[in-house]
């Protein structure tokens, strides 16, 4: 091999490292194709970069790769890195004993690789967190926080944040995630995937506990980051979270733009459907029923093409939202989606929470189960599950989730106490349209609306929002004869004779 070729390979290795940090994994893999055949001094580093890339996508494949290229790592530094990467891959596949064993082997090499102590400490702290054995004052973590490498330091702060969150200290979690972002943004060399995860984590927890500054910081970092397809899941979840925060703070238009972005970047069709459902919900609460129905139709069209059996738990939450939004419009279809969700299992939700056996995992599961039971008409089971969810979220200050659970309980039990609780949690978000919505819902209902069937209520709202009979027929999948008959009854209830008259009357009564 000529010197020029060797120089080219060195440049290629650097390029692969950059691509790895920038979360352009296909590019890194392309560069490293055949790297096991490179000159030995380059190959021992190249195979490890490739292993790092693989771990982020497919941990078992990474373990296979590491085993196959074992002979290529010759220097102590490379062997040390191999042990760390192997341990990390094992912890990702939840083989904690094997992971601990690899970290012990790395520890023995520390004498020859003294600069590796911070990295090893981070991996050990991460493993302890996954084993639910870590506390924020974990010694390994303390060492990792002093890593002179900003990438290592940032990731250590993020880890401490997650550990604090698992322990219920959400303020500390927000503070640490903010610090992680500060460190990452202070340098040109940062790991996009780590930052993306931190943004998502910060946005989520800040929104849940109604910490405006945390959400703002996440939004700021979101706008700055060069997102790639390889971190699409983090981006999608972060932008949805920012959307919900905008909505809860009285910015429905902004929420809709963010959900629009979420639909555009959704990593899977199920998630794309979910983003349209988000828009449908916001439009409905904002009293633009026509828009809401439109987004619901879009979501349905996408959902019909999804192989739900092949989706992961988080994606399947779209089924729950579909069921909830469809329930007043098309009860049988809603029950079909609820049953589909129940059929594929209700395990979810957030892989980070699952990884750390966080009790909020149970909370999300219970809430979802409650909504499904509610849709299926099992009021007792729904109440039981929703109360369990509320009991988890309310004490830890997860305002949004507690509000949702309380609101659902108010619907199921018709008990004003739950409506009050829902309004209380909603009030944590100043300007929330939901607070207004719930207040309006609590008002004595209009007698004309009260006299209509649930289906007629939906029809009436859609009709005074501007949908003509033809559009209603399409929208509600009913014949024109049925629609005409139902609309005639609605006109009679409001004592009007035209669509315009109905709209005027609804506006006059303050229900449109």
């Amino acid at each position: 091999m000529s010197m020029t070729e060797i120089i080219d390979l060195r440049a290629a290795l650097d390029a692969a490292r950059s691509a790895l940090r920038a979360a352009r994994y296909d590019e890194a893999m392309d560069i490293l194709r055949g790297c096991q055949d490179w000159p030995v001094d380059l190959a021992e580093h190249a195979v490890l970069v490739k292993a790092d890339t693989l771990i982020r996508r497919d941990a078992p494949a990474a373990l296979a790769w590491l085993a196959a290229t074992q002979d290529l790592t010759i220097t102590d530094a490379a062997r040390f890195d191999r042990e760390l990467l192997t341990g990390r891959a094992y912890s990702n596949v939840r083989n904690f004993d094997a992971a601990a064993s690899r970290f012990a082997r790395a520890a023995k090499l520390l004498e020859k690789v003294p600069t590796g102590s911070h990295k090893l400490a981070y991996q050990k702290a991460r493993l302890a967190w996954m084993l639910r054995e870590a506390t924020p004052d974990n010694a390994d973590l303390a060492l990792a926080l002093t890593d002179p490498d900003p990438i290592g330091r940032a990731v250590a702060y993020a880890a401490r944040g997650y550990i604090a969150g698992t322990a219920g200290d959400f303020a500390a979690q927000i503070a640490d995630l903010k610090t992680a972002l500060e460190i990452a943004e202070s340098t040109d060399v940062y790991d996009v995937e780590h930052v993306a995860a931190a943004i998502y984590g910060l946005a989520t927890i800040s929104f849940e506990v109604a910490d405006q500054s945390g959400v703002n910081r996440a939004r700021q970092a979101y706008d700055r980051l060069a997102w790639t397809a390889d971190v699409r899941v983090h981006q999608y979840n972060a932008v949805r979270c920012l959307g919900w925060d905008a909505f809860m703070r009285g910015e429905p238009a902004r929420a809709q733009w963010l959900f629009h972005d979420a639909a555009a970047i959704a990593p899977t069709p199920a998630w794309q459907a979910q983003a349209h459902l988000d828009r449908a919900y916001v439009a409905r609460i904002s009293k633009n029923d026509a828009w809401s129905l439109d987004e619901l139709q879009e979501a349905l069209k996408i959902a019909q093409g999804v192989a739900w059996g092949e989706t992961i738990g988080e994606e399947r939450l779209a089924l729950v939202t579909l069921a909830v939004l469809l329930a007043p419009v098309n009860a049988p279809e809603a029950q079909r989606y609820a049953a589909t969700y129940a059929m594929f299992g209700m395990e979810n939700i957030n892989p980070y929470l699952v990884a750390s056996s966080d009790k909020r995992t149970v909370g999300f599961g219970k809430y979802t189960q409650g909504k499904i039971e509610q849709t299926l008409g099992n009021a007792d089971l729904a109440q039981e599950a929703l109360e369990a969810a509320y009991a988890i979220f309310a004490p830890i200050g997860h305002q949004y989730q507690a509000m949702l659970a309380a609101q659902a309980l108010a619907d199921v039990t018709k008990d004003a106490v739950w409506a009050d609780k829902a309004r209380m949690h909603s009030a944590a978000y100043p300007g929330s349209p939901l607070t207004t919505h719930m207040a309006e819902s609590a008002k004595p209902s209009d007698p004309a609306i009260e006299g209509l069937t649930p289906f007629q209520r939906q029809l009436a709202r859609a009709h005074w929002s501007g949908l003509n009979l033809d559009a209603l027929s399409k929208q509600f999948s009913r014949s024109m004869y049925t629609i005409e008959g139902q609309i005639a009854e609605i006109y009679a209830a409001f004592n009007v004779a035209t669509a315009g008259g109905l709209r005027e009357e609804a506006l006059r009564r303050g229900i449109a």
Binding site: P252, A253, Q256, S286, N288, A290, L293, D294, K474, Q475
Partner: protein, 708 residues
């Protein structure tokens, strides 16, 4: 500000109407921000109202300053409701949702346009964001109609593409020189053609040299053509039309060439099927005539001294088999007969089914009439062997007529007709044999046809007569009823008995009308008699053919009603010697349920007499007259008659002795306890008026009427 605008709007609405209100409202709104209202702007806004597209304008602060009527319709807004509001507060896909793009357009100072689809309403709206120095104009155009048309066009194109991809056709165009200018379609690969092989080449290479030349010249004259050609093992159908330039002149041709090989194959199969008799697998009449014509022609051309002969073979007693054992058995007999004939002829000879139980054998090259006779004899020998079918041993004979070419005819039609005439002569002469055609035979065949035509006329012109043979109550000697018997007074042949024309009527289907004719008169007669003799009944004979008529029961019911006759006054006689299908038995049961009596005629001579008694809803048994003839001398006949009478009495049936001609027979029957009798001893068949007269005569004189 919104309240201020609202107040002014109300005033404006009252005074000058909606349009002026819009301008005033806008104008007033602007005045609150800037005291120098711009007349030019006002004119501009007024103009916007006239635009059919939706238009709204936002200022630098993203507040809506104007919205025309169409925009309000698209945003489902009340008039003026959005003016003055921040666009972000107008939560709608056509307002708040456009803000990111509006900002981008402003920032980049570029027009942004896109089309958005609303799935729930099916609307398509084209959005155009045009940034200005201070204001941004948003145009909204409802393009639902256009987009729907486009969607239909896309659908139509995709259908066409699908058609192109799936249908084995080649679409092509040619220039005025007759060379291919383009070729496409799914037919190309299946025909083993590459586009590049034919482009620029003469169409003759694909369309077939002669066809292409003549067809294309016709097309270039302006007339579309359609023709078929063969390309290797494939058949193609070409439809070619002139291709015209802008000035209307023919500048070339466009064509669709469809691979119709499969269609052709199917056609061939269907044609073959149309020429074959489905039951026997033999050529049918259509094929026969062609084969025969070819044989006649071939005979003329081949060698001197040979000729063709036609044998017309008609099965004897086939109708009886069909009537007694059913159609399925009849079909099987036909198959066996065909096979026997096939094995009796040479390899070059042809056998075809003419129809029914008639077959034609064509001997293609015989040298003498003796050869023909030998073949006929072979066939007859084969028919002498019994046919075993479902445990029955059946004897099916054949009658054969032969015609020779050219002396008995030079055309297929003539030969068949003459062989048929010869066959009829055989039938008339006792069946089971063979005869050559003779000129005199034509007359017999003509006779038969003429008779059928005359019968038809007789039926319509009352050329038929209905007589009645009295049925006597044996114990009292009184007339109980009468059997209706038809006669045909033929203008040249004299009076014809039923057996001389009823078989002909059954063959031709005329029997249905004849039965109806009889029924009407018989019922009328019985109704008249019953006014004075309420127990009188009339008997009418029904053939097996009558019983197959689906509406028989309705017909009887109608005739009874027409005559005003109680059903009890009618007795239907069914000959025992016919096979009755299930449907016919059901019809008899229906008739019985109606109240009509059912009698079995000629009882005792068929092998399944007792089965009849069990299966049919019988009210009477009529002992066949053959038993009566020798009853006084033959102990067997006596035993049979006794048995029938006993059977009838046991089952509670009326027993009627037919053919009672002597006093001895009369007393014999009386001794046996037979209830009723008819025959020449009492009276032959007589006119209805004569019967009426007999009622006034004492019973002891009844027998005198036999000489009446």
């Amino acid at each position: 500000m919104i309240i201020g605008v609202g107040a002014i709007a109300l005033l404006a609405l009252i005074t000058v109407g909606v349009l002026i209100f819009r301008v005033s409202a806008l104008s007033s709104s602007m005045k609150t921000e800037s005291s120098a209202a711009d007349d030019a702007n006002e004119r501009r806004y007024t103009l916007l109202e006239a635009i059919p597209d939706g238009v709204y304008i936002i200022d630098a602060d993203e507040r809506l300053t104007h919205m025309n009527e169409e925009a309000e319709r698209l945003l489902r807004s009340e008039p003026g409701a959005f003016v003055g509001r921040a666009i972000e507060s107008i939560l709608d896909p056509l307002a708040s949702d456009l803000i990111p793009e509006i900002r981008l357009a402003r920032q980049q100072r570029e027009i942004i346009s896109r089309v958005v689809y609303f799935r729930a309403t099916g609307w398509w709206v084209e959005i155009r964001i045009k940034p200005g120095a201070k204001e941004t104009v948003i145009y909204l155009r409802d393009v639902t109609v256009r987009k729907s048309a486009e969607a239909k066009l896309v659908e139509s194109e995709s259908r066409l593409r699908l058609l192109m991809d799936q249908v084995p056709a080649v679409l092509w165009s040619a220039d005025r020189l007759g060379c291919f200018a383009s070729l496409s379609g799914a037919g190309l690969p299946s025909l083993g053609i590459r586009e590049s092989d034919l482009l620029g080449k003469s169409c003759a290479s694909f369309l077939g040299a002669e066809d292409a030349l003549t067809s294309l010249s016709t097309v270039f004259e302006g007339t579309p053509v359609e023709f078929e050609s063969r390309r290797r093992d494939r058949w193609l159908r070409h439809q070619v039309e002139p291709l015209r330039g802008a000035d209307g002149r023919v500048i070339g041709a466009v064509g669709v060439s469809l691979d119709i090989t499969e269609i052709k194959d199917t056609q061939r199969r269907l044609e073959a099927m149309a020429r074959r008799d489905a039951l026997t697998g033999l050529p049918n009449r259509l094929a026969l005539e062609e084969l025969l014509s070819a044989a006649i022609m071939g005979g003329q051309q081949e060698r001197e001294g040979t000729f063709s002969a036609v044998l017309f073979v008609d099965l004897d007693r086939f109708k009886t088999i069909n009537d007694t054992l059913g159609h399925r058995a009849g079909d099987e007999v036909l198959r066996i007969a065909a096979e026997r004939m096939r094995s009796s002829i040479g390899a070059r000879d042809v056998i075809a089914r003419q129809g029914g139980d008639e077959f034609i054998v064509v001997l293609t090259s015989t040298t003498s009439p003796d050869d023909v006779g030998a073949v006929a004899a072979r066939i007859l020998r084969r028919f002498a062997e019994p046919i075993m079918l479902d445990g029955h041993q059946l004897f099916v004979g054949a009658s054969i007529g032969a015609a020779l070419s050219p002396q008995h005819g030079t055309t297929a039609e003539e030969l068949i007709k003459n062989a048929d005439a010869a066959m009829y002569r055989v039938k008339a002469g006792g069946r089971g044999t063979f005869a050559f055609y003779e000129a005199s035979m034509d007359e017999a065949a003509h006779d038969r046809l003429a008779l059928e035509a005359e019968l038809r006329v007789a039926l319509q012109t009352d050329g038929l007569r209905l007589l009645f043979q009295p049925i006597i109550d044996v114990p009292t000697g009184r007339i109980m009823g009468a059997e209706a018997l038809i006669r045909w007074s033929h203008r040249t042949r004299g009076e014809l008995a039923p057996d001389q024309f009823i078989p002909l009527a059954e063959e031709s289907g005329l029997i249905i009308d004849i039965t109806k004719w009889v029924l009407r008169r018989a019922c009328a007669f019985a109704a008249t008699v019953r006014t004075t003799r309420p127990d009188f009944r009339v008997s009418v004979n029904f053939s097996a053919r009558d019983l197959r008529e689906a509406n028989l029961v309705e017909t009887v019911e109608a005739e009874l009603a027409h005559a005003g006759l109680d059903p009890d006054g009618l007795e239907v006689e069914v000959t025992e010697n016919v096979f009755l299908e299930d449907e016919s038995i059901e019809r008899l049961k229906d008739l019985r349920n109606l109240g009509v009596r059912i009698a079995v005629d000629d009882f005792g001579i068929a092998y399944n007499s007792l089965a009849y008694v069990k299966r049919l809803p019988i009210t009477s048994l009529k002992i066949d007259k053959s038993f009566m003839h020798d009853v006084m001398a033959d102990r067997f006949d006596q035993a049979i008659v006794k048995a029938i009478v006993t059977l009838g009495l046991t089952l509670g049936l009326h027993v009627i002795a037919e053919g009672v001609e002597t006093e001895a027979q009369w007393y014999f029957m009386k001794e046996l306890g037979c209830g009723q009798a008819q025959g020449f001893h009492f009276s032959r068949a007589i006119e209805s008026t004569a019967i009426q007269a007999m009622f006034d005569v004492p019973p002891s004189f009844v027998s005198l009427s036999k000489s009446a």
